[in-house]
Symmetry: C2
Subunit: 209 residues, 2 copies
């Protein structure tokens, strides 16, 4: 089994690396240079026709892309600690929270990154007004998550799950591109410190983000 | 068990209704009037603090929101026919396809709906140029799915899965708001006809969409 990732990874590869570290599993990792366009070379596109990392390649050649789908597979292979729930309700509830992170928290971050950040200006047409408008959506989502975290330790209850990994990689990337968590969001900030101090997260200390 | 939905539903409630029909399961359904703002009333917000349908309420009062999370729960309760896969690899692969549908196909549709459609103009600030730019993203995604469907019957292989439900509700909604599948996308159009003719989909004949 082999993981195609990228150095100093963006949120998606980082999710898989934290998942592997939580489970104490080491697998072969091949870092592609996105700057050199290695993810667009035919050999790699044959593994993921979206031309994106991360990709997990099994020993029989089958591949899985999409960070959460890869983590879901790893969770079944290495069930301890469980990151996707222990029964039908937990699995559904955690899935719900992952989707809330993606659609409410990650979407404005992605929109801001693509449409308002100087780094991406050279990559395509930016709609600056739209991009800047996502600051409000980001802050609104941060406040909503802050409220949810006022009564529990982790995104989905009393245990660390894949929803925390999805959310942490999102807020860290947001911070890195200039979208800070509002200071009034004390529960969300405490949660960020709490999960950032986990050995799995701290072990990935080579990352810029 | 009780489902909170909406009449003539948008893509998300419709996914759950098709899932239930595929499994031949009937449960109590309460339709909320979104026009009257029933989804914003305190009783309902207590069930889903995002104030959105669909919501599944269990007999013990616990709730699940997010369409795919609800379907994932129903799939475990009523495993035939399986819509989320039979083993770890299938489950990951189907999850990957659901995410590809959401992020590549649904995202431009949602952006166009919110920022370029006349119906939503009165609901908030529209960024028209950005919204209109999503026509190209939609067509590009449609062409990519068309290519993927050139060599198989369903979104994720030889069997109908939740990825087909996610994709069908997306392309039908897209069509309804004025984003048509390009005529050159013959594989995608054939797939749309094929899945639209399934008894589960045809049984929901009261819908506008």
């Amino acid at each position: 089994m082999k993981l195609y990732s990228a150095p100093n990874p963006a949120p998606n590869p980082r999710r898989v690396l934290i998942c592997l570290a939580e489970k104490g599993v080491e697998i072969q990792i091949t870092d592609l240079s996105l700057m050199k366009g290695q993810h667009k070379e035919p050999d790699f596109v044959a593994k993921n026709s979206r031309a994106q990392v991360p990709v997990l390649e099994l020993d029989d050649g089958r591949t899985i892309s999409e960070s959460i789908a890869i983590c879901r597979y790893l969770d079944e292979l290495y069930p301890n600690p469980p990151l996707f729930g222990r029964d039908a309700f937990e699995r559904a509830e955690i899935d719900m929270w992952v989707r809330r992170v993606e659609f409410n928290l990650m979407t404005p971050v992605g929109n801001f990154w693509v449409h308002a950040h100087p780094y991406t200006a050279r990559l395509g047409t930016q709609h600056k007004d739209f991009g800047e408008g996502n600051r409000d959506r980001w802050e609104s989502a941060a406040r909503w998550f802050d409220g949810e975290l006022s009564c529990r330790e982790f995104i989905c209850g009393t245990e660390f799950t894949i929803a925390d990994i999805a959310a942490l990689t999102t807020v860290d990337f947001a911070t890195w591109i200039g979208l800070k968590i509002p200071k009034s969001c004390t529960h969300l900030l405490l949660w960020q410190t709490r999960v950032s101090n986990r050995p799995s997260v701290k072990s990935l200390n080579t990352m810029v983000i």
